[in-house]
């Protein structure tokens, strides 16, 4: 064919934050394909210096509106590790619920509001209100349920209020948990319905596979959202304190971006990584959703990250119900304890909806932060997105330019990038 | 919830509130109010305390004439409460723990009830006048399908302390005494009060010094937790029915009766906070200490957070605003608690804040509680619960401490705050629901002002006096008080509206034929018969010509009843002149002298009047100061200067009449926003004899 193609997608839509896609092909040969991030840097690590231990989670939660609960929890875990603060079983269970609330919200937003329009051939969810109202209403309902869960535990869905060092400023009532349990039970059916809508259009997800490494938290008890060691599909398991040897941040010579790599030149984190590593811990209902799409570990198709998110929606619903039952069984108790200020360094890792999130703080004897480092899921994925693009672009270069553009957009969207997060301190520039 | 169609004009039930209120009223109670000059009120309070018995019906007596007290075991008491919860007698609201404090909340079981509480964070008032309440809902796509939300759900308030029982009686007087508030009324009638004697005294309460630690009436049942048994005093037939239906009681033993008596008798001694001055002295202390340094000193520490008013069981001020739903169809008119400590409490649409100084707001609360309301209603609007003192972070809100300070260091510079004796005319029922009316004509007067001719859709003729005002409603936007600008006696009326706030800006966009809501007329107008036979000098500035025009037209229509008529009018510039045609027409008359002036006139502007402030029109004027009544209406800044010029002409005070602007929100003396010292401008004003207000510190 030998066409010349120039694609420039400025400020890719339906993603969190500002990113650009560039593709130049000459005579049917891809010369340049780039994923560029154009978000203002915000310097959070610099900001938290000198701030009190009890402020850190409130400040770093503001790194990202969509995954503010994950940031709060990673921050609290790092702070607690640094100061040697123990938390109760009840606190751990409630925190896991909070994480699930956020995961449900974020995944529903992504699959339902951001990806579904691609599958149903629309520019956004707005025209779908007319053409596919029933599906939209279900998605909105699921999204509301998710936010209700976050609000019940955190006081607010975005920028949680009740999460604090050592525990909670307020715990939900048993009545509230019972009400929430009923909501979640109902949501399981809605989740299956939404999965059905996606399945009906799943043929639009490109069949593209590129072998890569997947990294996620992993443990022997559960799906490891809140806690675990670092694990890799290439084998190996390391305590989170050794994260630096896994994430290996490095600076690309021709740009300012910090990349991460482990065994290969890039790795992927997120729903697909968790599924690939922790599928054995999934509930029966979640595995049924995976079965609907034929999703099996280890899957190397990044577009299947959308499906992995659907699987996780179901699993988060099921596991949340289990946690609520356990909490009700134990009986909820107001807890209070004095926090003792102690100097030290601590690493806290949780799974944000988009993958592995790590905060690392050094705290002095007055309880003030002296040094901070945050490893963001989307940062870890930027290199993998770029590598995927480099392999995907030549394979589809003979298609119409519009389709190439859409496919590249869909690829980036499949990663559910959270660019505000990833630029909490840095800009990625591939040029 | 009960729905009422506003346009039907008929409320679902026409009920007469049959509870005798006489115990709370000062002086005669024939629907009018008498002037409560400062000398008479302490006598009134004595009447309040002795006259409350009829409030809830009759307390049951035994054969010997003593109050009948029943008793039951603690277990039976708990069973009784559980039965109330289960037996569909209404929502049972009791005192429950909230962390280390207490609150009124629905009870799920008797175990949750905490009769050993000291004080609740908010008073039980919140179940009679909720913090937020939808007064009505509407659909602006269907004009005037307005539904009044009347909450007729049955409730039992359980564990109400005596001071709160008394506070509810005060609320009853405010909301039901005159201008009955239908929303409050419905809740109140459906609320059963089971009071409780105080077991634990709140740290900041001084109820013992006020005598509000015990109560003899105002409840349906009064329980006294004696440890193993519970004594119950029956306060009403309804209380007796509840007790008979849901519990087994016996007559209290002599020992139990003595125990109850002893408990109540010993209670005052258990209060750490004590008033050093009798509460009958509060009014005198406040009259003598308007400029006491404590107001300035304390107000410096004041956060202006309004907490003291928000937790108060006797505070009753409210704000009303319209909230539209996002679909732009349904809306709600919402009433919320407001407080006089908040800066914008007195703010009018034009931006003026009448109590801008923090010291004035800080002081106002004490004067309202200790002086103005006692003068109006005959009771000190404080029951000594101590909630304000507990909640005030800088700790400057304690009436007990303030009164003790004033008592020990008094200024003795007496200021009088008489409340004019005005017979309040106008509506008594259906106060909050506007009636529909249609815009018949719009006549633009200036860039900012437009004259509207309005006719109520019911066809009723608005009966008003010149100087009165109506509340104009635009659903979804809100309400604004507007003076009537036309002469009475016609089927339509005119409003001059300056485009300055939410409502007036929206009104400006509306067309002839569109509908607005009207409430009123409200307030005190000009005393047309009182000024008959006199020479009349009208002095109007700016928008002040609107209410004045109503009277001018009336005077000219009844020209024979009046002597010389002179009209002085001043405004900013030629382009701002209102009623230009009327001014011209009036000046053409042989028996009317019209003088007009503008503050400034640009070069080349067409202007046939004077240039200079309105005050410059007065000195050259030839009139008989004894025969002439001066009607002064204008912007706040105008009064002082105009009146000073009139005084130079030796006009006696009693010949001057003014009309004052304030934030008149409810129109019926409840919301509190228009208050000027002890006066409600929406009731006693906006028209005042100068003699009635000249010494009011907050008037000019």
């Amino acid at each position: 064919m030998g066409r010349d193609i120039d694609i420039e997608v400025r400020h890719l839509t339906r993603v969190e934050g500002h990113g650009n896609i560039y593709l130049n092909a000459r005579s049917g040969k891809v010369e340049k394909v780039l994923w560029e991030v154009d978000e203002a840097p915000r310097f959070f690590e610099a900001m938290v210096r000198g701030k009190s231990y009890h402020q850190l989670s409130h400040i770093t939660s503001r790194i990202c509106g969509i995954c503010s609960i994950s940031h709060s929890l990673a921050s609290l875990k790092a702070t607690e590790a640094a100061m040697g603060v123990e938390i109760s079983k009840q606190t751990e269970l409630l925190r896991r619920l909070a994480l699930y609330g956020e995961n449900l919200q974020s995944h529903t937003l992504h699959v339902g509001y951001l990806v579904a329009p691609d599958l149903l051939g629309a520019g956004s969810v707005i025209p779908l209100v007319k053409t596919a109202k029933e599906a939209v209403v279900k998605i909105v309902g699921l999204h509301r349920t998710a936010n209700m869960l976050s609000e019940a535990i955190c006081g607010r869905a975005t920028h949680p209020i009740t999460l604090e060092v050592g525990g909670f400023t307020e715990i939900p009532t048993e009545r509230a948990l019972l009400g929430m349990r009923e909501e979640l039970e109902n949501a399981k059916g809605v989740c299956t319905d939404v999965a059905g809508v996606v399945l009906a259009h799943a043929d639009r997800l490109p069949d593209f596979t590129r072998e890569t490494e997947f990294i996620a938290l992993t443990n022997d008890e559960n799906y490891a959202f809140y806690d675990g060691d670092l694990g890799s599909t290439d084998g190996g398991r390391w305590p989170v304190e050794e994260y630096l040897s896994i994430t290996n941040e490095y600076v690309v010579p021709h740009s300012t971006a910090k990349y991460t790599r482990h065994n290969r030149e890039s790795y992927m984190v997120g729903a697909l990584a968790r599924f690939n590593l922790n599928h054995a811990m999934l509930s029966k209902e979640a595995m049924e959703v995976a079965g609907m799409f034929g999703l099996k570990p280890v899957c190397h198709n990044p577009f299947m990250n959308n499906v992995a998110q659907l699987v996780e929606i179901m699993d988060s619903l099921v596991d949340s119900i289990g946690i609520i039952d356990e909490l009700l069984d134990r009986g909820l108790e107001e807890e209070s304890g004095e926090i003792e200020v102690r100097a030290g360094r601590g690493v806290g890792a949780v799974h944000a909806p988009r993958g592995l999130l790590i905060h690392d703080y050094t705290i002095d004897g007055l309880g003030n932060c002296t040094k901070a480092n945050c490893i963001i899921p989307t940062n870890q994925n930027h290199a993998n997105i770029q590598k995927d693009m480099e392999e995907l672009a030549p394979a589809i270069i003979d298609k119409p330019a519009k389709e190439i553009e859409l496919t590249l957009e869909m690829l980036v969207r499949a990663y559910d990038p959270c660019i505000s997060c990833s630029t909490h301190y840095i800009d990625v520039n591939f040029r | 919830m009960r729905a009422i169609l506003a346009h039907s004009g008929v409320h679902a039930q026409s009920r007469k509130f049959d509870i005798s209120m006489s115990g709370l009223i000062v002086g005669d109670h024939d629907g009018t109010r008498t002037l409560h000059s400062s000398g008479t009120w302490s006598h009134a309070v004595v009447r309040v305390l002795s006259g409350m018995k009829e409030r809830m019906g009759t307390v049951q007596h035994d054969e010997q004439g003593g109050i009948r007290i029943q008793a039951m075991s603690k277990r039976e008491w708990l069973n009784f409460v559980d039965r109330l919860i289960k037996e569909n007698e209404g929502e049972v609201i009791g005192v429950r723990a909230r962390g280390s404090r207490f609150q009124y909340a629905p009870l799920e079981s008797a175990e949750e009830l905490r009769l050993d509480y000291d004080v609740t964070i908010l008073p039980p008032k919140k179940y009679l006048l909720p913090t937020h309440e939808d007064l009505m809902t509407f659909d602006i796509s269907k004009p005037f399908e307005v539904l009044a939300n009347i909450d007729e759900g049955k409730r039992i308030l359980l564990g109400v302390h005596p001071y709160d029982v008394l506070a509810i009686q005060q609320m009853d007087e405010i909301y039901l005494g005159t201008h009955r508030d239908e929303h409050y009324d419905a809740r109140r009638k459906n609320t059963i009060i089971i009071a409780s004697d105080i077991l634990n005294v709140s740290e900041r309460s001084f109820a013992g010094s006020l005598g509000t630690h015990v109560v003899e009436t105002g409840f349906d049942l009064l329980v006294t937790d004696l440890g193993d048994t519970v004594a119950v005093t029956i306060g009403s037939e309804e209380g007796k029915r509840l007790l008979d239906t849901h519990s087994e009681t016996r007559e209290a033993t002599l020992e139990e009766k003595k125990h109850v008596k002893r408990l109540r008798k010993e209670l005052p001694s258990r209060y750490a906070r004590k008033l050093k001055v009798d509460k009958y002295m509060w009014q005198k202390l406040l009259e003598e200490n308007y400029d006491h340094p404590i107001w300035e000193e304390n107000s410096k520490k004041c956060l202006q957070c309004g907490s003291c008013t928000l937790v108060c069981p006797t505070c009753f001020c409210y704000d009303v605003d319209d909230v539209m739903s996002l679909n732009l169809k349904e809306g709600r008119r919402v009433r919320t608690w407001d407080g006089c400590l908040l800066r914008d409490f007195t703010r009018v649409a034009g931006g003026e804040i009448f109590r801008e100084n923090i010291k004035d707001r800080y002081r106002h609360r004490y004067y309202r509680k200790g002086l103005y309301l006692p003068m109006r209603n005959g009771f000190v609007a404080c029951v000594g619960c101590g909630r304000c003192a507990t909640q005030c972070l800088p700790d400057i809100a304690d009436p007990c401490e303030i009164m003790n300070t004033l008592a020990s260091f008094s200024m003795h510079e007496k200021v009088n705050f008489p409340i004019p004796d005005v017979k309040v005319a106008g509506v008594e029922e259906g106060l909050l629901i506007p009636e529909p009316a249609t815009i018949l004509r719009k006549e633009r007067q200036t860039d900012m002002e437009t004259l509207y001719e309005i006719r109520p859709d019911s066809g009723r003729r608005l009966e008003y006096r010149p100087g009165q005002f109506v509340e104009v409603s635009i659903f979804g936007v809100g309400e604004a008080p507007i003076s009537i600008a036309s002469s009475p006696g016609r089927d339509t009326f005119e409003l001059l509206v300056r485009r300055i706030g939410h409502v007036t800006t929206k009104l400006d966009t509306m067309k002839v034929g569109e509908k607005i809501g009207i409430r009123g007329p409200f307030g005190n107008g000009f005393d047309v018969s009182g000024i008959a036979g006199r020479d009349i000098l009208f002095i109007s500035g700016g928008c002040g010509l609107a209410p004045t025009r109503s009277l001018i037209e009336y005077v000219l229509e009844n020209r024979g009843d009046f002597g010389k008529v002179t009209i002085l009018y001043g405004c900013k510039e030629p382009g701002a002149v209102l009623f230009g045609n009327d001014l011209q027409e009036w000046s053409r008359k042989n028996d009317v002298l019209v003088k007009k002036t503008v503050d400034q006139c640009g070069e080349g502007e067409c202007w046939d009047g004077e240039v200079g402030l309105i005050t410059t029109l007065i000195p050259p004027l030839d009139f008989d100061p004894e025969r002439t009544i001066s009607i002064v209406v204008g912007p706040p800044v105008m009064y002082k200067f105009v009146i000073s010029e009139l005084k130079k002409k030796e006009v006696p005070d009693e010949n001057i009449v003014v009309s004052l602007e304030r934030r008149m929100k409810c129109g019926v003396g409840k919301c509190g926003h228009c208050q000027m010292n002890g006066i409600y401008v929406c009731l006693e004003g906006p028209v005042f004899r100068y003699t009635d207000v000249k010494d009011m510190p907050e008037a000019f």
Binding site: R14, V15, E16, A40, P41, R42, M47, G50, K51, S52, H58, R62, C64, G65, I66, S68, Y113, L114, S124, V129, V137, V140, H143, R144, N147, G155, R156, T158, H159, I161, E164, T169, E170, T256, S420, D427 | S100, I121, T131, K300, L303, Q304, C305, G306, L310, V323, M324, S325, L326, N327, L328, L342, R343, L393, P394, G476, G478, H502, T505, K506
Partner: protein, 248 residues
């Protein structure tokens, strides 16, 4: 005609736009009464023809300033959305240090010289660059308040923020004052409108909605001293969302 509405974001977490999505079922009403022409976080289409621009985020770079000025030119009404846009919010915390210093802390030895993406100046609120017609403060915004402002704009009623402090809403919620719980609270000087959400959930107000027009700072500091809050602690708390906004 339905007002045309556009959403834009600058340096922020985009959490305020998320609150618009979090209106859940009410979004269906929203898109019924206004025409959303740009909302990058949720839709592909975009347009420069709009009446009302909602702007989230702080202004950090000359390139942001240029973009914001273009938005101002296009919009009839510009509404600042959230703490970052209204007052600078947490983004302003970095103004404690020089731009060079924070770059060094974060990027260390990396070569970012001359890259326009890194051409940052001290954080600014939106109204430090262009005129702002209305504000919806908070971190994040209160979605009920957002809905109210949109409804007001659509029916032609000027949106007005509460002029009273958070304490008013806190009292109406019958909360135990967080000072009693030994916590720090900026409620007395902070503009209400959040329904006192933080104190209602047992945490002190952080001042994310900005101070009142006439905050009683000295009185508030007296209270904090009375409750034993040190100067250092006070400074950190006051600065969190209102960095050096006249408080200390």
């Amino acid at each position: 005609m339905k007002p045309r509405v556009a959403f834009f974001d600058f340096a922020s977490c985009e959490g305020c736009q998320l609150q618009v999505i979090n209106l859940e079922e009410k979004i269906l009403d929203l898109i019924d009464v206004v025409e959303v022409v740009s909302f990058r976080e949720a839709m592909k289409e975009s347009s420069d023809d709009y009446d009302i621009a909602f702007v989230e985020g702080s202004i950090m770079r000359p390139m942001d300033e240029e973009r914001l000025k273009r938005i101002r030119k296009n919009a009839r009404i510009l509404v600042a959305l959230g703490a970052c846009a209204c007052i600078g919010g947490v983004n302003r915390l970095r103004n404690e240090w020089s731009v060079d210093e924070v770059k060094k802390e974060v990027y260390d030895e990396a070569d970012i010289e001359g890259n326009r993406l890194f051409d940052v100046f001290p954080t600014k609120a939106v109204d430090e660059v262009v005129d702002v017609d209305f504000r919806i403060p908070g971190c994040p915004i209160n979605r009920e308040e957002f809905a109210k402002v949109v409804a007001h704009l659509a029916i032609g009623k000027e949106p007005r923020l509460p002029s009273y402090p958070v304490c008013v809403e806190c009292k109406k919620n019958e909360n135990i004052c967080v000072f009693e719980l030994g916590k720090f609270c900026l409620g007395p000087v902070t503009r209400a409108g959040c329904n006192a959400i933080c104190p209602t959930h047992g945490d002190g107000c952080e001042g994310c909605r900005g101070y009142l027009d006439d905050p009683r700072m000295e009185a508030a500091k007296d209270v904090l001293r009375k409750y034993g809050v040190s100067f250092d602690e006070m400074m950190k708390r006051f600065n969190m969302f209102n960095y050096r906004k006249g408080a200390i």
